[in-house]
Structure formats: C-alpha cells, structure tokens
C-alpha cells in the first residue's frame, strides 16, 4: 500500500463511527407500548460489541463522494436493523438453533420464539421507515432514497440473504458452499457499499464497481474468519483441550486451508482493483475503502467482540 494509505487510522475512524452509530440506534428505538417488543428489538440492535461493519461501509462510501455522513446515518442505521433482524431469525430453533450470539444469549432465548420472530418482523420496516423519515432531503433527492430502499429490500429478500439462509439450512451440497457464502455474507456488504454510493451521488459505472467491491470485501471477511476458525480449532486440539462442539461447515473447511488462503488473496486483489480510478478522482477519501480490504485479511486490531 502507498504511504498515504498507511497513514489512515482505520481504528480511530471505525471506533469513532461506532460511537455515533450506537447513539443514533439508541435514539431510533425508543421504548413504547407494548414494551416487550421494543426491549427485544433493542436487546439485539444495541448489543454490546457489535462491529457495525455495514453502517461503516455505507458511511465511508458516501464520504468518498464528498457528501456529509449526515446523509448516510439513517441508511447506515437501517442496514444494522435489517442485519440484526435476519440474525435474530437465523438463530431461531427451526433455523440454526443458536442459543448464543456475540457471547450472550440469543434473542429468542430471552424473549421467546414468538417475540423473536416479531422483533425481526418489526426491525425490517423500522429500517425502511428510518430511511424515509430521517434522511435529510437537502442532501439526498427522493429518487435516490427510493433506490436505497429497493437495494436493501433486494439484498435481504428471496434472492439475497433469505436465499443464503435457506441454502445453508438445507445442507447445500459442498459445491454450493461458496454460493451460500456470497449470499449470506457478500450480499449485505455489497448492499452497504451501493447504498453509500447512491446517497453520495455515484454514477452508474461507479455503483457497479462499488457493488463488486462490497461483495468481495464481505466474502473476504468471512473466508478469513473461517480460516482463523480452523486454526483455532487446530490449536485447541493440539493443546488437548476438550472440544466443546464441532464448528459449522464452512467454505474453508470444504476446500481446505490452502485453497481458502488463495481465495482470500484473490478476493483482496479483486476488491482493490475495483477501487482503481477512485483515488485519482477522489484523493485520500478512498483510503478507508482500501483499509477495509486489508483489515479483512490482517485483523491488526480488535473491533467489537464477535
């Protein structure tokens, strides 16, 4: 990376934004009657240690185009809301049956399966509502807001994250694991980047680049996550620790660690290649986008507590 890029302090950028995003999310879900549902929604959305990767991607891309982050906050919060909604539903007993999320009990374990379903159902529309009512119309035209709505709805819908979750559940063939990864982890990152572009006024050509960039970063992050998981499991085995439970099937496990590492390198360079040309046009504002790619591989500092 160039000297200019290495000067960019991603950790400060990220943690500063997390504080702002957490504050806005806190305000966007005030507790009303019937209290239970708001508590359940808040429990998941305001979970301590959430990385807020989607909101931050969205804001950074919006800022690339020199548009104030104020234009992006409502969409950023909405991305987090729909993300949490799908995680709540993914954790349900009939789905992945996960009792824990970020090191604490999952939503249904605390509020019951019925409330967890409803909390998810309420978070999706709250996200959309938040975008249309809180995006400053002086910064973003209504036509762009509609494109953002369409983009998020597509990403979470039947050909996006729902498809990923469905294929994951049905024990997709090994040959489909890569596709499941794309749908479960690439889709939201792609959507976040594209939304940032829409809010920032990107051209159609720029949006296409951001789409590919976002998808590559999302999948890259997950592939590295899986490689680290395999390494952790190995260390635990060698250390003779009791194996609590066998980790989930993953792309890295299916293809093996060597191939996964190759894939990660390829994704890293593919993601960066999509950013070609942005630096010339937008200068150092592109730095956060490069640093996300490197961070996905290097994990040189800790964010959140997943």
């Amino acid at each position: 990376s160039t000297p200019m890029q290495s000067q960019f302090d991603l950790k400060t950028y990220w943690t500063t934004l997390i504080t702002e995003i957490n504050h806005k999310l806190d305000q966007s879900i005030p507790i009303k009657y019937p209290q239970q549902i708001y508590e359940s929604m808040r429990y998941s959305v305001l979970a301590h240690g959430a990385k807020r990767a989607s909101p931050i991607m969205c804001i950074a891309v919006c800022e690339l185009f020199g548009v104030s982050r104020l234009a992006a906050f409502p969409t950023a919060c909405a991305l987090e809301m729909v993300h949490e909604a799908s995680l709540i539903h993914d954790d349900l007993p009939d789905m992945d049956d996960d009792l824990f999320r970020r090191g604490r009990l999952s939503n249904h374990a605390i509020y019951g399966v019925d409330m967890a379903i409803l909390a998810g159902d309420a978070l999706f529309p709250l996200g959309f509502q938040h975008i249309v009512s809180d995006t400053p119309s002086s910064l973003v035209p209504e036509s762009s807001i509609l494109r953002v709505i369409g983009e998020i709805a597509r990403a979470v819908g039947s050909t996006g994250m729902v498809a990923g979750q469905f294929l994951d559940l049905t024990n997709a063939e090994d040959s489909q694991t890569e596709y499941v990864q794309e749908k479960k982890f690439g889709e939201l990152a792609e959507c976040s980047a594209v939304c940032g572009g829409l809010l920032g006024g990107a051209t159609d050509e720029e949006l296409e680049r951001l789409r590919k960039y976002g998808r590559a970063v999302g999948v890259l992050y997950q592939v590295v996550e899986e490689i680290l998981e395999i390494k952790r499991e190995k260390t635990e085995e060698e250390g003779g620790e009791n194996k609590k439970k066998k980790g989930k099937k993953s792309y890295a496990k299916v293809v093996g660690i060597e191939k996964a590492l190759e894939q990660a390198e390829e994704l890293r360079s593919r993601a960066k290649k999509e950013l070609d040309g942005f630096e010339k046009k937008y200068g150092e504002r592109v730095n956060p986008l490069y640093s996300f790619v490197d961070y996905a591989v290097e994990r040189n500092f800790l964010i959140g507590s997943d």
Partner: protein
Amino acid sequence: EEVQKKVHFAFNFDSYMHGKATSVNQALDKAILLKEPLKIHESMRYSLLAGGKRVRPILCIAACELVGGDEASAMPAACAAEMIHTMSLIHDDLPCMDNDDLRRGKPTNHKVYGESVAVLAGDALLALAFEHIANATVGVSPLKIVRVVSELAKSIGSEGLVAGQVVDIGSTGATDVKLDQLEYIHIHKTAVLLESSVVMGAIVGGGSNKEVEKLRKFARCIGLLFQVVDDILDVTKSSEELGKTAGKDLMSDKTTYPKLIGLEKSKAFADKLNKEAKEQLSDFDPVKAAPLVALANYIAYRQN
C-alpha cells in the same frame, strides 16, 4: 338523494370485485416469478396466490381512482399491501404464535413447507413489498412514493401489525381483557393495514391532504368494522362456511366483541362504524365513491 340511490343501484359490486381481483391476481403472479431457490419462491406464491378476497389491494385501487388516479399507478402499492397481509398471516399461523393448521381452506404455509421456510418466506414477502413499491411504481413522483413507503412501514412494524400481535399474544388466556385492549388489538392487527392500503392509494392517486385524511378516517372505521364482523361471524357460522376453524376464538378463550358486549350490541356497533365510514365519503362524487361505499357494505354484511 334519488340520484344517489340510482347510482348505487347501477353499481355492480360483484363484477367490480371480480374485475379488480383478477387484475390484482395477475399483478401478484407477475411480481413473484419462480426462481432459485425454488422452494422459497413456491412457498411465497403458495400463500400469496391462495385466492384471498384481495380486500386491501382493491381498497388501495378504489381510493386511488376516487381521487382521480388510475389503477396502474396504484397496483404496486396494492400488491405490496397484499404481500404484507400474507406475510403476517404466515408468521401468525406458526406453532409458536397462533398455531393454525388451516387458512383460506388450505393447510397453512408451515404445514406444507416447514417452519423455517415459512419464517423465511414471510421475511422475503416483507422485503418484496418494499422493493416492489420502490421499483415498480411508475408515473408517480418520487416524493409521493417515499410517502407511500413511510405509510406502509409504519403500519406493519412495532406501531402496527406487530404491536397488535404482541398485545394479542399477551392477552390470550387472560380473563380480564378490557374493551379498550380488544380495540387496540383489532386496530393494530387489522385496521392499520386497511388504513394504509387506502391512504397509499389516495397518495399515489394525487389526493389532496384533506382527501387523504378523510379517506384515512374512512379506512379506520371499516378496519375496525372488519374485525367486529369477524368476531360476530366466528360465533354465528360453521367452519365450513368460514374456511377456517370456527368458534376457535371462543374455545381458546379469546376475547371477542360478542363475548365482551353481547351479540346484539356488537351488531349495533358494526352498524355505527359502517355509518361513520360512509359519512367520510359524503363530500366525494357519489359515482366515483360507489366502489368504496359498496366495499364498506361488503365488509359489514359479508358472510365469511
């Protein structure tokens, strides 16, 4: 007055409903194509195309046409209302909620496709409703479409459908449910989506703020009316006639209007709501208002 009567007489409700339902069904069919993953899209189509009466979409279109808009500009919002209605039924029918096996005379979604698919199909229908409004509405200004998105979002989340279901779950089995709580449940579970269907239609049709608010009030009345009539039918009709398990509300100790205030008073309340609804339409051209008047009557006097 004589003229008005004549107009109502000339309006053929059955053919109106049939015609509108046919175009809504065609639009819904086109809105969800069968694609990968097939099972998810089959499940969405199974419930969405199960042949409901399409009351919400038709209300949306009728309101749009009443204020001078055309059917085509209301169709995406109309379809979205039906998608949301369907998704809420799919989720409400789940074993962990109301645990219903039968809906519109057919096995419920989770009975056919399993619970995980039913949850996901509901989520996908919710998302599709917004995608459809945002992408498929043509000939309407983005400012108006944004208002439509907001209207729909408000009516289905924790201030709308979800709130109604939460309070409903909380009061099931309770012996001391009060009238205002029952009304809260019905307003949120039923009336708000009928309201937003009508209001979305009025907005895309280019209605003035005053017209939109009149129609909002109209819809509120018929929304509550819808549920009062539902409660009455549950006591007076058999399962076969209803296409769902009758008397379930009584058996499961669910609070209903007849239980709280008696059958006669429930019927009187229904009449009052119907009258109040129609009063909201008195300033509109009677010919153009005929479909909404007839829809209110249909809701008030339907037999299933």
